[in-house]
Amino acid sequence: MVVPHGSDPPMPADLADLVALAKEGDHQAFEELVRRTYSDSYTLALRLTGDEDDARDVVQESYLRAYRGLKRFRGDAQFTTWLYRITANCASNQLRRRARHRHEELDEELGPVVDASHDPAALADVADLRSRVEGALEELPPRLRAVVVLRDIYDLSHEAIAAELGISESAAKVRLHRARRKLRAQVFPGRGDDQDEESAHAV
């Protein structure tokens, strides 16, 4: 396949148009899709795996799968949503592989408790709240983190999350609620101490 260089037609602005071109075999259209979405995909992969190397591997694998599976993408969902699902699935596999090697990844402990002696002024600060939420996310066990990241940040449906993580929808919901409870306890320490018995409710 000979692709003339230097005479590339301008790429459409719309992701959906790029997807249509890529489905017809336009390799450059697919490359443009990668260019426009890879930072976003990497961010999701990093939030899911919590590790830069793993995130890079996950993103690589995701785009290969997206490339091979593009014909099966029907366009009834957003391309990015479809890509998030693939990324979620690859990240889930990656974490499973890694958990076999590093058993600490399965550690269900709450992790270090955030220092409760916060300055009330700082507590009110939005940026501070954001960084505390991000810190708390990193402390979550990966399988709880995956569900809350996919549902509450990326707005995937329970059904999609369950399918990509290989769990039931009800398990996805249980994990979501556990993850939110742990996050709340971590982000707003010293209030509503009913989190202490969390370890009794193994999922």
Binding site: H27, Y42, T43, Q60, Y67, D152, I153, R180
Partner: protein, 121 residues
């Protein structure tokens, strides 16, 4: 009904997807602690949503790596199509692949070599 009975319920209802049943609502209406918890969940969910637009920049080189991998996969696919599913010896494959581009031929050659190494060793 006690606050402790409502832990999961509050976590579930904070996003508005589920509503409290009557007993829970009666409790929360009179309970400052549960109301404070709901407010915290709302703040938490709002903050999580703002993370959606945040981009964590990968270290340099990731884009180039992805594009190279996709390109290689595309070439492998193109060559396989050229071979039209027939089990051709790699030599024949190389000849056919030359028409599609020398790069693709090298990909196949190195891959097959790597795959055979463990058998030889």
């Amino acid at each position: 009904m006690r606050c402790d009975d409502l832990g999961d319920v509050l976590a579930a209802t904070a996003d508005g997807s589920v509503s409290l049943d009557d007993a829970a609502r009666r409790h929360v209406e009179r309970c400052l602690r549960c109301q404070a918890e709901l407010v915290q969940y709302r703040k938490l969910l709002r903050t999580l949503r703002t993370l959606r637009t945040e981009v964590l920049e990968p270290a340099p080189g990731l884009l180039a790596e992805i594009l190279a991998n996709v390109e290689a996969a595309g070439e492998r696919h193109a060559v396989r199509s050229l071979l039209s599913g027939r089990r051709v010896a790699y030599l024949g494959g190389l000849a056919a692949a030359t028409a599609a581009g020398a790069g693709a031929a090298i990909v196949i050659a190195t891959r097959s070599k790597r795959a055979r190494l463990p058998l030889a060793g």
